[in-house]
């Protein structure tokens, strides 16, 4: 009876948990404009005022939002646009054009995309007609016809703004910024970029037409704020259907934020990177460990997640290598030590390996040369070593110069964790001269 009861309660809890996971995953993965902004109130106010002036007064503007990756640039503009659209009478009066430098890789595509999004008259269905020259003159003509008071303001959002600066002659940027500086259709040009040197990329006449407004997002929060963000990101909203469970969950989160080991983990994470996207990654990994039998996130979960985050990927590869391949890597390490990072070739590695096998090894079998060659090639395929020059057909593979892409400390760390590593190999690794 009691077991059935617990089973049914388990089922109910599983239902809650899946809801929790859905809500939190959405929060971590989508840049939804419903969440709070952290520490960017000043920038937000600047941006929203600027957008309002374009939308309401018909004033043309241009602005760049600059900040490192994951600092919330897109989030900021999405928030601002959402608020702008909620202002009465604005939503049907403003046209938005979203461009992304990764998608619109040249002006021709960008022009078509603008025309399509503005739904101008040379658009039929999803197709835009005319050559790119015609499209450009058509679009410019269209934008020129308008004036401050009568035509609909257009908000251009250029994501990855720096990539537009690489287009030929920067024609698109010149024209957009020129419109923003002349009495034509009111436009707001908002560029998002993570490059701090963006102004140096602009050509001088393009630069002159840019208003030089810059909004910097710098992740300028301290650790206590970071902790607060952590709490806020993990707590359930008050609208969650099951109040009791939500309370329990939130209490648990509160407890976590006060836990010493959790703080340590967070501090380590904070030290590595301040951006919220990496925090989301950490929380996501921790969240995935939540099951009906393990309904709340614990400090151990977070530590595990942190370990996953900061794992050395190449070390992991080394763990899966065969003893022969480990031996080759050790031989390369010795060569690097002896010749001071000079490149080596297969023959040198093979000789080094031979020396080890003949003089020192007890457990390592003396493999044939072709077998060793095969192992060497496998290492190359794993990109643990890489050739200095491109492989040519004629060159003998034994003598092709290679470089090791592993650091000494990496090798030693990997060897320590390597399961069933023969002692003689381990000894050989620690000292290249020990065989003497």
């Amino acid at each position: 009876m009691s077991s059935r009861k617990s089973k049914s309660s388990n089922l109910i809890q599983a239902d809650y948990l899946s809801q929790v996971q859905r809500i939190l995953r959405e929060r971590f993965c989508h840049q939804s404009p419903h969440d709070n902004l952290f520490g960017v109130q000043v920038q937000y106010k600047h941006l929203i005022e600027l957008l309002k002036r374009t939308a309401v007064h018909g004033e043309s503007n241009s602005v760049l939002i600059i900040g490192p990756r994951g600092s919330g640039k897109t989030m900021l503009i999405n928030h601002a646009l959402k608020e702008l659209m909620e202002v009465e009478g604005v939503s049907e009066n403003v046209l938005q054009v979203h461009l992304n430098g990764l998608l619109q890789i040249n002006d021709k595509i960008a022009l078509k995309e603008i025309t399509r999004q503005l739904n101008l008259e040379n658009v039929v269905g999803d197709k835009v007609f005319g050559s790119s020259a015609e499209n450009l003159s058509f679009l410019l003509e269209a934008l020129k016809k308008g004036d401050r008071t009568s035509s609909c303001p257009v908000i251009f959002i250029l994501d990855e703004f720096d990539l537009f600066a690489h287009h030929k002659n920067q024609t698109l940027l010149y024209n957009l910024l020129d419109i923003s500086q002349s009495a034509q259709t009111p436009v707001a040009i908002i560029g998002l970029t993570c490059r701090l040197d963006i102004l140096e990329l602009l050509e001088k006449r393009v630069k002159s037409r840019f208003s030089h407004r810059q909004i910097h997002l710098m992740n300028s929060f301290s650790f206590p704020q970071y902790l607060k963000i952590f709490k806020e990101q993990l707590s359930l909203p008050s609208v969650f259907p099951e109040k009791i469970f939500a309370e329990q969950w939130n209490e648990n989160v509160q407890g976590l934020s006060e836990d010493r080991s959790v703080r340590e983990v967070l501090q380590k994470h904070f030290n590595a990177s301040k951006n919220l996207r990496s925090l989301h990654m950490l929380l996501m990994l921790a969240l995935n460990r939540v099951t009906p039998s393990h309904p709340f996130i614990t400090a151990a979960d977070l530590m595990e997640a942190n370990q996953l985050c900061s794992m050395d990927s190449k070390g992991n590869i080394v763990h899966g290598l065969s003893v022969l391949e480990i031996c080759l890597i050790i031989a390369m390490k010795h060569l690097n030590d002896i010749y001071e990072e000079e490149p080596f070739n297969f023959q040198m590695v093979y000789n080094e390996f031979q020396k080890f096998v003949q003089r020192k090894a007890h457990s390592v079998y003396n493999f044939e040369k072709p077998v060793v060659m095969k192992a060497f090639e496998h290492l190359q395929q794993l990109e643990l070593i890489r050739p200095m020059e491109r492989t040519s057909v004629n060159a003998q593979r034994e003598y092709q110069l290679m470089k090791l892409l592993l650091d000494n400390t990496q090798i030693m760390n990997a060897l320590q964790k390597y399961p069933n590593c023969p002692t003689d190999v381990r000894q050989w690794a620690t000292s290249s001269l020990s065989w003497l």
């Binding site: 503005l118 101008l120 590595a272 301040k274």
Partner: protein
Amino acid sequence: MAYCSARLRTRQTYLWVGRPSLDQKLHYQTYKEMSMKREGYSTEIHIQVGQFVLIEGDDDQNPYVAKLVELFEDDSEPYSKKRARVQWFIRFCEVPVCKQHLLGRKPDTQEIFWYDNPACNSNISVETIIGCVQVVALAPDEVIPIHLKNEKTFFVKLSWNEKKFKPLPPEVFAQLNKLQEDNHRYQKSMEAKTKSTESPSWTTTEHAVKRIESRHSTSKSRHTASHPVTPRARKRLELSGFPRTPNTKISQATSCASLDSPGRMKRKVAFSEIMSPSKRSLPDGSQTSPPAPKAPEKTGEIQHSCTKDAKKTSPDLGMILRTRVPALKTTETSEERTLTPTRGGRKSSMVPSVILKPEYIERREGKEPDVQDEATSTSRIRRKSSLLTLNRIRQQLRFLGNSKSDQNDEEFLPAAEISDCDSEEEEASTTPLSRRTPNSVSRNLHSSMKSSLQTPSKTPKKTPEPRTPRDATPRIRSRNLAAQEPTNMLEEARLRLHVSAVPESLPCREQEFQDIYNFVESKLLDHTGGCMYISGVPGTGKTATVHEVIRCLQQAAQDSDVPPFQYIEVNGMKLTEPHQVYVQILQKLTGKRATANHAAELLAKRFCTKGSSQETTVLLVDELDLLWTQKQDVMYNLFDWPTHKEARLVVLTIANTMDLPERIMMNRVSSRLGLTRMSFQPYTHSQLQQILMSRLRHVKAFEDDTIQLVARKVAALSGDARRCLDICRRATEICEFSCQKPDSPGLVTTAHLLEAIDEMFSSSYITAIKNSSILEQSFLRAVLAEFRRSGLEEATFQQVYIQHVALCRMEGLPYPTMSETMAVCSRLGACRLLLVEPSRNDVLLRVRLNVSQDDVLYALKEE
């Protein structure tokens, strides 16, 4: 147009017809008629003075249209002795593109304009005449009748005098109308007899006059008769489609100028509101035309019915008028004066209905068969005559409508009576064809006319066709919420400080303005061409100054101080490819579209052949350096055209660098550019201050010294006026933010300005480093340490990593794994604090600092 190609293949001979009459004054012989014989054809084409002809021009597709005024033989001319004097018409496509918008509507395909320009050479060689053409004069708001539409018929509604479109002067209109009818008659008779010895126009004109009289009686158009012309001419005037309200008693001569008088306005209103019912009946009459050629035996009947209609309507109208006349007498004495019936008198034009005597109608009846008799031989002729009759009927109906609107204007008739009359009229004019559905009646005149004039089978409802993208009109949707106007001083200042705000004057560029103005003006006055090169760093007012010059010159051209010119602007940055410049120029010059190569040919033809352009073209080429090509053919052409004497092309070029001609141009290009150079220096601080002051003249938003501060700052940095304005604009915003009371923000202070300048110009690298995470900072330290160790400004990632691990150990940070460190490195690389190679090089990628080492040290120390 097929006849054009035919013309090219065959040679033609031109002969005078008839006896010459010697012009006493000019000592040459004038002729009334000529004949044109095409080689290999037996038929001759006879062209008479007063007919409309096509004249060979630049464009084979669109030959010039003109009216033959005189034919004469002139021995002094070297090439052809047979000369003709013509009155030109101009096609819409010949109107300069920049003036085309003055028409304010889309021209009809066959619409032409009376070319009212005495300066234009009207003396041509007879051999350039291609053939006859028909020109129909219409009232400005009349719709072009579709049944007359063919490529040999043109319609003229307005005149063009190089400045604006005007309605046709009434005398011209009347003349044209008469000629048009003459032409009908003439062509008919020509075809019937194939040979004419004496000009038959005398008889026909007489007919016409009589007809006019009769029509006039019903139409009762009121013209004052103070016009000193021969009776016949006056009659023609009466025919003209310019009915007036009775109280406008302006002389005919000034009518043209007084078109915008309130009387006319009134009439327009009346047209749109009251005319519709009578217009309703109108298309019915014209609908008879399509079946006419198919069933020629029917036309007679239709004609009869039409004439009967006319008869029927006229008594109706008579009644109405009768009721009206006493009323007029009682109300307006001046009206009375014009209304006094002077029968058969030369002076009055207002013929009250009282004198609408049967004899008039009889005469009309007697005349109509005349026309028919004349035109019995072939079906084609019959069609012509039927058309003629229809025309007449339509005109009459229009007059009726006008008269009705007049009545309504003065509200003499009760509404019921009008409707009565309408229905009667409609009934009367309903032809055997179907009646029109009432829903189209409510629509405006234009569309209802059009739809009903189409084939009867077509439904009157016009379905919106999907527009082809070619003729799509570029425009952005207009807003429905009105843009807010500035509410306080700061907003007002911000509006004025926006770069787009056009200042009343351009301060600090007076000298440059004067130089450019003088240059262009002298070229305009001398009718020559030339090039000018203007250079200067961005934001020094190059384009603005040129625009100002052009604006002033256009003003001057309107005041006739300088000859009129055409202004075209192209911008190298607004082209996708240098050769597109030809396309843009051609399109702005003529409105035609062509491919780049074809456009280049057409432009070369236009600018390099003799006498092709009538007015000077001023071409502004902005961002010239973008027009550079490997062969430099674009630049070469642009600078070569002005050197041709006939081109009359002034080219103003703008670019940023002063030595552009020497640097990138070949010798033959830069030589053609010439040495007329001008360089815009960056603004000095006092100039910038003046610019700001002039913009903020009436707005007190800034504290006194602040403007000077910003001017000095910008002058020291770049001298870019745009920067200056942007900083001030931003400062007003900061001031508004920082102010507590939103209603009465204070003045912009120095602090605000400094904040704005700081925001715009301070390097963000240091803040970025300060705000980066601890590992990132430590990585930067490691980079510095590695640089110091190796003595180079570049290191591989592996080397930096070793330093980084050591640093972390020293600072008690946990051991950073390779992957973590790589992530840190790529993050720093993404925001360009570091310059890194692509990450496929893995640990071997090379790292450099994008900031100076001192800056990094400074940023890292401050903690």
